[in-house]
Symmetry: D2
Subunit: 416 residues, 4 copies
Amino acid sequence: MQNKSPRRHFLQMAGGGLAALASGATMAASTPASAGVTVKLPPILNATEAQTKDPVISPPGKRVGFAIVGLGHLALEEVLPAFAQSRFARPVALVSGDGNKAQSVAAQYGIAPKALYSYDDFDRIAHNKQVEVIYIILPNSMHAEFTERAAKAGKHVLCEKPMATSVAECERMIAACRTAKVRLMIAYRSQYEPIDRAIAKMAQSGQLGALREFIAGNSQRQGDVNQWRHRKALAGGGALPDIGLYCLNAARFLSGEEPTEVMARVWSPPGDARFTEVEAAVRFTMTFPSGFAATAVSSYDSHESRFFRLQGTDAWAGMNPAFAYEGLKMQSARLMDGHDTLIEPHFPAANQFARELDHMARCVRENRIPHTPGEEGLQDHRIMEAIYQSAREGRVVTIAPPPGPTRGPAPDDGEV
Amino acid sequence: MQNKSPRRHFLQMAGGGLAALASGATMAASTPASAGVTVKLPPILNATEAQTKDPVISPPGKRVGFAIVGLGHLALEEVLPAFAQSRFARPVALVSGDGNKAQSVAAQYGIAPKALYSYDDFDRIAHNKQVEVIYIILPNSMHAEFTERAAKAGKHVLCEKPMATSVAECERMIAACRTAKVRLMIAYRSQYEPIDRAIAKMAQSGQLGALREFIAGNSQRQGDVNQWRHRKALAGGGALPDIGLYCLNAARFLSGEEPTEVMARVWSPPGDARFTEVEAAVRFTMTFPSGFAATAVSSYDSHESRFFRLQGTDAWAGMNPAFAYEGLKMQSARLMDGHDTLIEPHFPAANQFARELDHMARCVRENRIPHTPGEEGLQDHRIMEAIYQSAREGRVVTIAPPPGPTRGPAPDDGEV
Amino acid sequence: MQNKSPRRHFLQMAGGGLAALASGATMAASTPASAGVTVKLPPILNATEAQTKDPVISPPGKRVGFAIVGLGHLALEEVLPAFAQSRFARPVALVSGDGNKAQSVAAQYGIAPKALYSYDDFDRIAHNKQVEVIYIILPNSMHAEFTERAAKAGKHVLCEKPMATSVAECERMIAACRTAKVRLMIAYRSQYEPIDRAIAKMAQSGQLGALREFIAGNSQRQGDVNQWRHRKALAGGGALPDIGLYCLNAARFLSGEEPTEVMARVWSPPGDARFTEVEAAVRFTMTFPSGFAATAVSSYDSHESRFFRLQGTDAWAGMNPAFAYEGLKMQSARLMDGHDTLIEPHFPAANQFARELDHMARCVRENRIPHTPGEEGLQDHRIMEAIYQSAREGRVVTIAPPPGPTRGPAPDDGEV
Amino acid sequence: MQNKSPRRHFLQMAGGGLAALASGATMAASTPASAGVTVKLPPILNATEAQTKDPVISPPGKRVGFAIVGLGHLALEEVLPAFAQSRFARPVALVSGDGNKAQSVAAQYGIAPKALYSYDDFDRIAHNKQVEVIYIILPNSMHAEFTERAAKAGKHVLCEKPMATSVAECERMIAACRTAKVRLMIAYRSQYEPIDRAIAKMAQSGQLGALREFIAGNSQRQGDVNQWRHRKALAGGGALPDIGLYCLNAARFLSGEEPTEVMARVWSPPGDARFTEVEAAVRFTMTFPSGFAATAVSSYDSHESRFFRLQGTDAWAGMNPAFAYEGLKMQSARLMDGHDTLIEPHFPAANQFARELDHMARCVRENRIPHTPGEEGLQDHRIMEAIYQSAREGRVVTIAPPPGPTRGPAPDDGEV
């Protein structure tokens, strides 16, 4: 799957089940658009890329249709706008508990009024042939239920992180999708972000020497006590599953290794209504069989601070800021001409959500395993349960290796 | 025009004189919005902005229709994709010398096949009611002709910078649009970019003290000898009108002052086929009546280097990198607690082209003068002619003040 | 002891009880200064400081005399050269196991041949009246013995960090100095470094909000297997007491709080001759009663990486690089005008060793408790023993509060 | 003179023709070193340097003796303290118009009371055998007179920049030293600073491609109207000879080329008492035969801003901040792995004054031409006169090539 020409793959797939649509050069393809469909298709490539790569953008009628489940902040502010920067995906249905809001949003994005669903009648979506993927952007505790219902409806599932609120739920979700023969992908957007991917390549190809330490922080000041994120039953936890998870997951995907032990402490400010049910802060160290260790701090009650540094015996590479939606920056350091030298390559801004949508779209079209399938989310939940156990018991907790691979092939370079 | 609620203006206009347009095919889609439902769908706003501002996005049917004239690199890689991030604009027609290319692009962007024009039959566009603005993205020498033809067709004009290849052409363009009672805006994207605007405010409100020096560089390695930019008849000049212009224009709009003298040198590497007709490099100092001076260097034959620093008696502010499409960063320095202190505020990435399109769209809807009208472009051409004269004659050349204001009201903060 | 005029104190002392000392060989040179002429000769102050402060430099004959015990790398490359940048201290004796080396060094620094001692005849130093302070720069395991011998000789002691190799040794050292009525200071140079001190003030005056997280890394690639630092009997441990100690100590002095619990892991690469006796890496989290926590990573087997970030609810402040001898840089971040803003004040370079020497000199002259007395070192050793215990037992270990204050008054601003 | 072992040369000189000097009062101290023991005591070298290089420090009695002429700010705050960080130089005499001040300073630095001179009896210094070099740190207009008097006294001359107040004075100074067979060096400290030297090497070895543009700014807010720097008769000019000179000189020594044309503007705020005689600001562009150009801005009435960027066709390198006494930082940019990449090597802090002193000391001992002899200063004055002429006449002024080389061999790497 190291093909340099994503377009060929995509058109091959399109030329299968989508033969009717694909017939004609671009003329036929434009038929749906000329029928009045509103198309928003910025490729978002800078000048340099455009001249050196072979970008592909798919016309609306060939794109993979997504239903968005949940119209909260993330869906409205990040995911729906990101379709405009995707190349292979388009929004074709909305699922919301608020019918008025859904109608307004649908009007903005050219989604047909008949493609709006409530949570109750969601299962009708099985009959909407335009919908190929269900993107679940709901409170964590609802991920399992909607994944199971989506699978039953025969739809592929893209589910926000954290995958669920327990290992048990993750396992149910994986089983449901396997039974239904649909794809399940967890929305780990950092794994589709160019700088993270560049650092993972550096690390795994030995450019840092032997990996030794990963140090990360992901903190923000969480203000609104009424948010569902402060309710244990809805969120499953506090800072850890929401933002600490970025550190945990990054340590794993950057190193390509799996931890076997963890030691952790959690903390909440006494008498703070925001943190009566979930932790405000978590601090943990995971150790890996190679000797590599990942130490991280994540807080819901600190001024914003997001960074990581991955240290090898010969060099380090990191991001500061890291983990954010935009404004990411890479640094690395190594000896050059006898001087310890800071190196900051410029990466053009990339919309992580658009890249994520496109990866899922291609996995659907090309019938392949997503880079971050349910198994990736399950493994993080196994580790998070160990972290909470360690914090509770005040001792080191061991973690069994995952039973199999947790990731599918990485997106190739041409894809993104 | 300091209104904090751009939406109200926009909807008033949309509901008023533009009723005919608004009652078109997409009317149904706009119903929910016109029914008063507040929809927050900023295409590319980060979480913080979304919570504190009141952004507006217009449904397709209410947007201002643009025809794109010229399908070169800038149009394909930057401008057309930027429509997806605009709030008030949409592409509805294409004008190109290459019919096949136009058809393919139209299919991508959902533009009707009947809305494609060649340069020869361009004047037919007068009959296309969806087209309200003609965006001219052609070689510089064609700007005047197409502005005049667009004005005759009764369409508003947004014209890429540099405005033309001579002062005389600029004056013809302004006259043509005045006669036709259409708006003329020059696409000075930096003047719609948030960091540039923040620095202009700092400077003009005295936060830097008295302005003293502006120092800027805008250089890149221009490779392709066959580009029209290397032909004097098409481009009007070399590095100066293309990239040096950013420095020149920034000195003026950041300070709010107009130069009265200029001293300049130009250079081309002997025997270099790229630079037989146009200059490779220009270095100039403009002086202003207040004592403020702007010194800049621009080269087509240097490794990429883009920055400026605006120095006052009490502080400085600048950008590094500056002038680029993305990745811009602000710095300033002043004394804090006895230490000279570097200050770098984080600005969320903003698509300058989308903001430019939206400003033009609102000027059309609200019947107001653009922030960067033809007079702004004319003034830059007056200065550029003085620069070339100074370089030719090896002496300081004086510049008469512009006959009137060169700018319309700045976009208010709510707008962008 | 918040006096703004260190000069007055110093001269009082010099002119008072130390008259005998001052009437030595350099008396003639000191006449003008003692006659009341104000001399401004800061060895390493930049122009701004010189104009705004009132620095003092003491002529040679009035300076406090130091004996340097141990002529290893740190003594030769950092401490002895730093006397040239001190204002109140001078080297007057050397103690070494290598007589030739001592003679050569003495010639360089103008130290009299009769003021050279071997480790065996060190106790003769009691008779050398020029020696007021013994600065111990020996392998950690020798600190206790030489502190006791110095105290018996009636000399004040400045001892390198880590203070010793065990809590028990620290207690012996404190007792010996108390009995002998001499001062004992541990050479925690960061506590005399201007940026560290500025951050401590910010933190303790509430400018960061409530303190929440301290995250730090101090790593380097330790190459030479033959160094005494790799022998447990000489060093007492590996990365922890040598470089991890910077993180541990900074968490304490920046916050002004004391930890009550620690959780830690240590690691050594199997089969690596450098790490058969001492740990290569340590990762630990200390928790404090206020909820503040300090998480740190320190490795002897990673590319150089030195930084910390102290996060409060309203802002963070940190250093990157941190902990090094030079090249230190401060950063902080907070909201300014709605933007999360990075703030980097410029601090003129300051020689930490010179400042440390001067603090000790003044404590001797002014008969006051050093800012970092033996109790400060003892507390760090209590915590390090808890860290090793936690790592051994795989569980959280509690730490009793220190029995009393661990620090004397901070140097006032005029002093440094 | 590309010898890799500065020590050998130095000791040869010291042991040879300078025997008389070496047998003075400090002979005893030098005995161990002269007995052949290798001593490694660099005052300000970091660990890495110390381990990889072969630094030398000379004992007091073998050092070259300097007389400091003028005890103003620069002498007291920078030059005299820098002797403590030099390896080959020591202060042995002072020349001042203020006898009390001279006595106090002498006491601080261990200078004999008999080695103090007034400006009137300066010529007596001919009889002081300890004085080998006269370092002139006086108002610019006094440089020529004291250089001539020093030469007549048979002493080598180190003269602060700017060399004088006119080309004619420079020529007199060179002639006087030639006649007297003494060395003349101008104190261009940047040419002895490691980062500047690294960039000069990059540029001249082709690592930036063909050199195209140098852009620099050196500005500060000059406050005190009573300073001699504001009097034309004393300073010769305003911002240009004081701080603009750094830009001018850097363009020359970094590129290794000489300009043939200059175009310049100067400015002073009307009615400002500080600038009735000298210019507040200068802006100039020098062009070089290769096509390379240097554009610079220097102001006495702007917030501090010091930087330069040297742009080639393939990369750029620069400093920000530049030109300052300390806190200098290098940046460069080039394409790496397809990304435009910012590269910041860490250079340990180096005292530029100490390096300058040591270079002069070695030139004296080893009987060689300084790297920045009088000819280097003369060439800058020729260019400054052209700058003022261009500003006065409002036209480009040509500059004849220097009649011969302007620089002696660069210090070799082992030296500093």
